[in-house]
């Protein structure tokens, strides 16, 4: 630690060079922090404590098939199930058919199974009282500038109403929000399943999927099997999964996020090693004289080795820390940019740990060669400029 000042001075001996290198490192770690946040955001989707106790039941045949509503009572009677809600895909679009807004038609107790969704008591009551009412997520309300009481025209891409038109209109009666916008409901609309079922001739007592909450998370697998057994060998067999497993499965089908992130970071760090490694080599070559003087004064070979290694590690740690800190600043804009798809933008402890480890590792790697060279400097030759 007592040599920190010396290392620092050596590092900023050539200000322009060090700052430019530092900026390169910052960019690399900025990218690392962002991509890691994305990766974690996908990896952790559905892994909340509330999510662990939710089971999703859909048609085994495919996700576009519906299930009879009569399953509700049967699922509720399965031992260990606390409550059962259900929902249908509505397929809403606002203003332009391409402007998709996730919209579900849901059962009255839908919000009970999602305790992380915050709806004020008045809004909840207003929703319960108005069959034509909808609740919208805070992100949507902000995006389109809606106000409570507005009439919201929604176009369903699938379902016509009783007049045969696919243009529905609803009254916005309340807001759904969640801590840090983490619940997916913050970016969607819910309407009454009852209204939906009564209005569209295409749906007769059918529901898209069930969401049930279990009393004991450890029994989730057993309960899932029991729910599926209810409709085994019928024409509407079901597939029940924990919310976590269902989400993971969905993401896996979308893209291999992990592979993409790893490949990009591989390319970035490979480039970084070469770039910074070259800078360190240059820095040591220039200072051959000074290093020889240090040795003359009695610095041991190992101390010189340590000084140079310390310099490269410090450079990397400095850049890494600034880069990761920047992610938190920039990250605030990320959820809005991705349309709510990415909602984890804080660099978590794990990212910091991996980032710091990477910085140290790369620092040691690129410092190794120049440091050995510095250690082997022959005092007489170096001072003579040979």
């Amino acid at each position: 630690m007592k040599y920190l000042h010396l290392i620092w001075a050596a590092l900023f001996r050539r200000k322009t060079r060090t700052i430019l290198t530092l900026l390169s490192i910052i960019m690399a770690f900025l990218l690392f922090g962002m991509l890691d946040a994305v990766r974690i955001s996908f990896a952790e989707a559905g892994q909340s404590a509330n999510g662990a106790e939710r089971l999703q039941t859909g048609a085994r045949l495919s996700f576009i098939q519906t299930l009879p509503k009569s399953l509700t009572e049967k699922i509720a009677a399965v031992p260990g199930v606390k409550d059962v809600a259900f929902a249908n895909w509505f397929g809403g679009a606002y203003q332009d058919p391409h402007n998709q807004v996730f919209t579900f038609a849901v059962s009255d107790n839908y919000l009970d199974v999602y305790p992380e969704v915050i709806v004020s008591a008045e809004d909840r009551k207003a929703f319960a009282d108005d069959l034509n009412g909808i609740l919208a997520g805070e992100m949507l309300i902000k995006k389109y500038g809606w106000k409570i009481g507005d009439t919201i025209p929604l176009q369903s891409q699938i379902f016509p109403n009783q007049e045969g038109s696919k243009n529905w209109s609803f009254k916005l009666v309340g807001v759904m929000s969640s801590k840090d916008g983490r619940a997916f409901q913050s970016g969607m609309i819910i309407l009454h399943w009852k209204k939906f079922d009564e209005t569209t001739p295409y749906n007769q007592g059918e529901v898209g999927w069930y969401v049930s909450r279990v009393t004991d998370v450890n029994q989730a697998d057993r309960i899932a099997r029991d729910i599926d057994a209810l409709s085994a060998n019928s024409d509407h067999e079901t597939k029940t999964q924990t919310e976590q497993a269902a989400t993971r499965n969905w993401i896996k089908q979308m893209a291999d996020i992990g592979l993409i992130v790893t490949s990009i970071m591989g390319a970035v760090f490979f480039t970084l090693v070469l770039l910074t490694g070259n800078t360190m080599m240059q820095a040591v070559r220039e200072r051959t004289n000074e290093l020889a003087v240090l040795k003359t004064m009695g610095f041991s070979n190992h101390k010189v080795l340590g000084l140079v290694l310390g310099e490269s590690v410090l450079l990397l740690l400095l850049g890494g820390a600034i880069g990761l800190a920047l992610v938190s600043v920039i990250g605030a804009a990320l959820p809005a940019m991705s349309g709510g798809m990415i909602n984890n933008t804080h660099v978590g402890i794990s990212s910091w740990v991996v980032g710091i480890a990477l910085a140290t590792g790369i620092g040691l790697l690129i410092g190794a060669l120049p440091a050995t060279r510095a250690m082997r400097i022959n005092i007489v030759d170096a001072l003579a400029g040979r």
């Binding site: 060079r17 045949l61 679009a93």
Partner: protein, 441 residues
């Protein structure tokens, strides 16, 4: 004042780079020709050429630091090209699926096939519309089809847990006539009326059990896979079966309805009349589009998203590479300070020096761009990926495609990075007071 000048140069550079990135190759060729002419014909141009020559000839002595520029830019271009190739491959696969002279008819305002419903009467009416081509026996080449989805276990996953979604298309005889590019490469076509399926090559790669002779379970029914087909487009990711059997499986009380009608027209020019006839028909409420337009629209969102991600990642990497290039070139200018000052002392002007250093940097950048593009092409061209795209109900497999246009974008990015990385060191070299520079060791 100095700060203001710096700021102005910076703004000019940013604007210039954006203009450059949108430049066509023709315009760039023009710039190159002008530059070459200038170098050949004017005094300053010849000066610039000779200074560039000196710089380039000393490159081998600075191999390590020059490699930083090349490798740094190769990294940026490699990642950028890979991402753009992914977007491009996805777009191409869907665009290949459609053509100008085939049409798709769906219920009005349906975003995709799966959300559309056409009753049996409607499909009969549509098949009789004017403009549809006829086959040898005089039947219209129109194919009412039913698109649904099925859950099947994914390759390499737990057969009980890891289900993926695959698009299932119920078709009739005419579908094969309509899509002549779809050919059976193994086994045979399904027999109408039987629970038999043919699987696309892409679907076979993605899901377990899609082998000829194997049974797969759709819900609680067992279907036999009797053939594998190849079509080199998005259809390859689907399973095809007899619409008359698929229908009742999925829609117990509406087995005769379909989701869409595909038809081949007598020519691309027959489209307007065909569309007008259907839209004005009071019995129907349908949307009509060419398949080219329909499938291109399906790819829009996803390919745009991939492109944007690629650009964001590429930009951040590019900024990093710019700093790397600046570093190298500042160092290069510093080591050659005496040499440059000498040139200026004997009468060389500032402009040739600036041009020479910029050309040198951009040459290295070009090398990096070509290297990065080549590596990306080597690894990723033809690499198979799959996604569950928006608007589709099944996984779509596609191949990454490193097209010339994609490579060209990569090269332009490389040159832009080289431009910024060379500009500031060049300006410094030209502005350095000759007397101070000569005294430097």
């Amino acid at each position: 004042m100095k700060f203001l000048v710096g700021l102005l140069t910076f703004l000019a550079v940013i604007v210039g780079v954006f203009a450059f990135l949108n430049l066509s190759w023709l315009a760039l060729l023009g710039v190159l020709v002008l530059l070459a002419l200038w170098m050949l014909l004017t005094r300053r141009g010849r000066q610039a050429a000779s200074v560039t020559g000196i710089g380039v000839s000393t490159l081998p002595q600075r191999l390590g630091s020059s490699a930083v520029i090349v490798v740094g830019i190769a990294g940026v271009v490699g990642v950028l090209v890979a991402m753009l190739a992914m977007a491009n491959g996805f777009r191409e696969t869907l665009a290949r699926t459609g053509s100008n002279d085939t049409v798709i008819v769906m219920r009005g305002a349906s975003a995709s096939e799966v959300s559309s419903v056409l009753g049996h009467d409607a499909t009969v009416v549509i098949a009789q519309a004017p403009g549809i081509a006829k086959d040898d026996q005089g039947r219209p080449i129109a194919s009412p089809e039913l698109v649904v989805a099925a859950n099947l276990p994914m390759m390499g996953g737990d057969p009980e847990e890891d289900f993926g979604s695959v698009q299932v298309r119920g078709i009739g005889d005419m579908a094969w006539e309509l899509r002549r590019n779809a050919t059976i490469i193994e086994g045979r076509k399904f027999t109408p009326g039987m629970r038999e399926l043919v699987a696309g090559k892409g679907a076979q790669r993605q899901f377990q059990g899609l082998e000829v002779g194997h049974e797969v379970k759709l819900g609680n029914q067992a279907w036999t896979v009797v053939g594998i087909f190849e079509s080199d487009d998005a259809m390859e990711s689907e399973l095809w079966g007899d619409a008359g059997v698929v229908g009742p499986t999925y829609r117990p009380n509406g087995g005769n309805s379909r989701t869409s009608v595909f038809a081949r027209l007598t020519g691309a020019d027959a489209f307007d009349a065909f569309k007008a006839a259907l839209v004005s028909d009071p019995r129907l409420q349908v949307d009509v589009d060419t398949t080219l337009n329909y499938f291109s629209k399906q790819s829009e969102g996803t390919s745009k998203a991939i492109t944007v991600i690629g650009m964001v990642v590429g930009t951040i990497m590019a900024i990093g590479a710019v700093f790397g290039a600046l570093n190298t070139m500042f160092a290069a200018v510093a080591t050659r300070a005496r040499e440059i000052a000498t040139l200026r002392a004997i009468g060389f002007r500032g402009l040739p020096v600036v041009i020479a250093i910029m050309l040198e940097t951009m040459l290295l950048a070009l090398l990096g761009g070509v290297l990065g593009g080549f590596i990306a092409w080597l690894i990723f061209n033809g690499y198979t990926a799959s996604t569950l795209a928006a608007g589709s109900t099944g996984q779509l497999t596609f191949e990454l495609s490193v097209a010339p246009a994609v490579l060209w974008t990569g090269i332009k990015w490389a040159l832009a990075i080289g431009f910024i990385g060379g500009l500031y060191p060049a300006l410094r070299a030209a502005r350095m007071p000759v007397t101070t520079a000569l005294r430097e060791s």
